[in-house]
Symmetry: C2
Subunit: 345 residues, 2 copies
């Protein structure tokens, strides 16, 4: 990539124009003491006139600070596009990065192995100052990699999955339990759950919590299934559940994201089942999508934007040298809407 921009303005030009040395310009632009107000002003004026901005590349080289953080997302593109979660998460991350004049290096990868290689390469090549790691799974190879590299990272996932890494996480277990209790309180006994990717740590956690909650409430008819988070998989799962004999058919279904819940709504309609009359549906994540359907979707709501922001804030902490820690963000809360109701007698 060869760039042939307009005659490059460098710190030297600015220094010359202001009648000072490069060092002085550097001091001024980094807001460090040791310059008179007058000189400082002259320098800024000169920079302004020449349209100069410090070359970040050069700056990182000599100061070994990098104002870029990495984020690799590992899901098939088809699904990514659909899940409001990531974009919202990214936008939360951004909101914090921007305050620090920091940028986000984004990459979509196909599997964890690829991500490990990428993160290592980013870090080794000093492209990033740290990374946000998402979608943890059991025995995630990124834990060891980050430790080995001594790379500042924040792991978005339950502490039980992220080893010694600093983590930012939501209490999925409690949220699942609340969801099940709510449906049970409405009178549902046959509650089903359409989960996310089985390989992901939080799916495992939710699955266990669902089982535990069902057991403790004595719900014999509870069942769950894992999917790949896609709407199609959600539709398939729903269809398979709702085609069971009426006495066996779930009267309420919890979904692990909202796109699958929308798909579930579509399937119910296609089968001529009323929501929430014949079956109640409960979504997860609660993007705007849940308010657009008819009926509107009850959901476990989650401040995804804030989640991303907290992850970014925590990363800055790690980069600044704060020791490992665990940062829980608020547990998703139930937002009842039109898709849940007591089962028809």
């Amino acid at each position: 990539m060869t760039a042939a921009p307009s005659p490059r303005v460098t710190i030297k030009d600015v220094a010359a124009r202001a009648g000072v040395s490069k060092g002085a310009v550097s001091l001024a632009f980094n807001h460090k003491p040791g310059l008179s107000e007058a000189t400082r002003d002259r320098i800024f004026a000169a920079a302004q006139e020449l349209g100069w901005e410090p070359n970040l590349t050069a700056r990182s080289l000599s100061s070994s600070r990098v104002d870029v953080v990495g984020l690799a997302i590992c899901r098939p593109a088809r699904m990514l596009g659909l899940e409001p979660f990531y974009m919202e998460f990214v936008s939360g991350v951004e909101s914090v990065l921007t305050e620090h004049s920091c940028s986000l290096l984004l990459r979509l990868v196909r599997h964890v192995g690829e991500e490990v290689a990428l993160q290592e390469s980013w870090w080794r090549g000093r492209q990033i100052g740290g990374s946000i790691l998402v979608d943890f799974r059991a025995d995630d190879p990124r834990v060891a990699a980050a430790e080995r590299l001594g790379m500042p990272v924040v792991a978005v996932g339950h502490p039980s999955l992220t080893g010694s890494l600093t983590s930012v996480w939501t209490d999925d277990a409690t949220a699942v339990t609340e969801a099940v209790r709510y449906l049970a309180a409405l009178g549902h006994r046959r509650i089903a759950r359409v989960g996310g990717a089985a390989a992901l740590g939080h799916t495992v956690i939710r699955t266990a919590a669902f089982d535990a909650a069902a057991r403790s409430l004595g719900l014999a008819g509870a069942r769950q299934v894992a999917t790949d988070y896609s709407g199609e998989a959600g539709a398939r799962a729903t269809r398979s559940m709702l085609t069971a004999a009426p006495s066996d058919r779930p009267t309420a279904i919890v979904y692990d994201n909202d796109i699958m819940a929308v798909a579930g709504l579509g399937v119910a309609a296609e089968m001529g089942l009323g929501v929430p009359g014949d079956v109640s549906l409960l979504a997860w994540d609660d993007s705007q999508l849940c308010r657009l359907t008819h009926p509107t979707l009850s959901a476990m709501s989650h401040d995804v934007h804030g989640f991303g922001a907290e992850a970014a804030r925590t990363l800055f902490g790690v980069i600044a040298g704060s020791g490992p820690g665990s940062h829980p963000v608020p547990t998703p809360v139930l937002t009842p809407r039109g898709s849940t109701a007591p089962p028809r007698s």
Copy 2:
């Protein structure tokens, strides 16, 4: 951001280990001629043993190549998350960037002014080798900015909007015309369109095309309205259209994205109107979402992933010095599904 990584290994260490000079290592790693096979192998072996990867920062500094391209997206976060379009576009861009070991610097901005400043700062600070500009509007300030800076960019938008910049675009006018013709062919006379943001160039183009098509087909009942692309706005617009007196109510509605179409579907259901019996709905962009609803949504389908890929490919061309050009990508095609049918007599 101060990083305290494990003892940094640099090109010097590798050179020492391989018993050659820094220059030799550089030659080897850039696959340039002038080294014997044997030396080359020794160098790679040494690098491998030390776990060295060239510091991209240093490399960009001396070679003035930057393996990063920028993308700023300007829409409120709430809407962004929802629109599958961008993530799919990004994934298309990525797929090409990856082949060139290039990364994507992503930023969400609030308005064009902010984007112009950002792009300028990125370019001046040599953070990026070029940029992909999206969401063009009439008299877009980015055109002048890019020219002034001599910055390699590819403009995603109709050539009429992108001035002298190299553009990548879809033929929205033709697509809109096709959509209207299709609905008219089904027998619809009162066709409405729920458009996107009025400030955006392609909205203007689609609006004009819709008008022209309606006129040429002699559809007196055609009407359209602009929104902000959000599902809520889509719902509002739909509600307002469908509450008109039956003799005035549109029998078919075209939406500018799929999220609004989903919202429209919800509104129709809420009002007790059958789709496609009472009203036909036609979405745009056609993400997976359109196949999940009931009825499924007919849509103008678009290979968004490919669109992004083409934009990235074109950007590499621009960076490599190819002159300005116009790169149309395939026109969206109609994919009829369950939400469109002839109007009820």
